[in-house]
């Protein structure tokens, strides 16, 4: 079961933020943010967006604040799924 970041009701229709059960593992641990057809990957090591497109500025600050507020839990959720590529593996922190 993916970890769905709990979002306020008024954001839920448009937005999702989750850690999935199968991910690209050679890349940085991340949470995927969705707004309908658009998706962004936000790195759990770098605490920054992993891709320049779609434009990260389209993501509501409120969503990013929620991610920051739940950062530890998101890291824990990633690490329990993907112990071979843990968030805390510092040296490869931004290997992409």
């Amino acid at each position: 079961m993916p970890f769905d970041l709990p979002l306020p009701k008024r954001l839920k229709d448009l937005w999702k933020a989750k850690v999935q059960d199968k991910e690209l593992l050679y890349e940085e641990p991340h949470v995927t943010i969705w707004k309908k057809a658009k998706k962004w990957r936000w790195g759990l090591r770098s605490r920054a967006f992993l891709d320049p497109k779609p434009d990260p500025s389209e993501v509501l600050k409120e969503i990013l604040d929620l991610i920051e507020a739940n950062y530890e839990e998101l890291c824990r959720q990633w690490d329990t799924r993907f112990p071979s590529n843990p968030v805390t593996e510092e040296e490869d922190d931004d290997a992409n």
Partner: protein
């Protein structure tokens, strides 16, 4: 288990001048239109075999092959053979739930990365394979072993398959897989494109700064006057034109001329 139903006549999303245009066929008049259309970008989406029969009856033979067809249930073999002769590609499943909902499917066909998303699929428990339809309606087959249980014990449920998140996610009960993770493992072309993109990004100013910083054994917290988050964004090329003052501070701490920052 579906056999390979799709002619490989080279329709690639990257080369495609126009996105595929979905049309839901629900009435006889629409079925007649689907039967006669020569629109090479049209995708005719049909709820059941009864409506597909209407289409076949409206075809004037010999017919030129054009357009695409999605049948949201399992066709009779006889019907399938005819549809494959009339349409460039034919996708089908055994349940409507195995295709994206209408609104999401429409978005996938419009998306520039349509080929890297899935619109539907079908599970074959006998051969332990998942046949998936990509956004350009080409087929893509992966074994059950592509969906390994997670370290915390979440397992795929083959009886509860669906595509979701506008084709970016494959859902198997409580288990969710990112489409790009599956494509990366099983599609060499996807892998090549993804890695080419990564290599291109590695030639950028941001990547050069990152390599130099690593070489100097510094963390992002070690650059006075530059917020670590800003530096992360610069290193990931999210800042189109970093401020010259910021670059000067980075260059100073890294011990190089600002003009040389992009050469590492």
């Amino acid at each position: 288990m579906p056999t390979e139903l799709l002619s490989e006549s080279g329709r690639q999303s990257a080369d495609r001048p126009q996105p595929l245009a979905p049309h839901w066929v629900e009435k006889d008049a629409e079925a007649r239109r689907a039967a006669r259309s020569e629109d090479t970008n049209a995708v005719w989406i049909v709820r059941n075999s009864k409506i597909a029969n209407w289409i076949v009856r409206g075809i004037s033979w010999p017919s030129r092959r054009a357009g695409f067809l999605i049948l949201l249930d399992t066709p009779r073999p006889e019907l399938l053979a005819v549809l494959m002769r009339r349409f460039e590609r034919v996708a089908y499943a055994d349940q409507i739930g195995h295709f994206l909902p209408r609104a999401e499917m429409r978005e996938v066909f419009k998306a520039p990365d349509t080929k890297d998303r899935f619109v539907g699929g079908i599970i074959d428990d006998e051969t332990k394979t998942v046949a998936l339809w990509r956004g350009d309606l080409s087929s893509f087959v992966v074994p059950f072993s592509a969906f390994e249980p997670t370290a915390n014990g979440i397992e795929p449920d083959w009886a509860r398959f669906s595509v979701t998140d506008y084709g970016h996610t494959l859902k198997l009960g409580n288990y969710e897989a990112a489409s790009d993770a599956v494509l990366y493992e099983y599609d060499e072309d996807f892998r090549r494109r993804r890695n080419a993109k990564r290599r291109a990004e590695e030639k950028t100013l941001g990547a050069s700064i990152r390599r130099l910083r690593k070489q100097k054994r510094l963390t992002r917290d070690d650059i006075p006057g530059v917020d670590p988050k800003t530096l992360a964004r610069i290193e990931r090329n999210e800042v189109a034109r970093p401020h010259i003052r910021t670059l000067s501070l980075i260059a100073k701490r890294l011990g190089v001329q600002p003009s040389k920052l992009g050469t590492f």
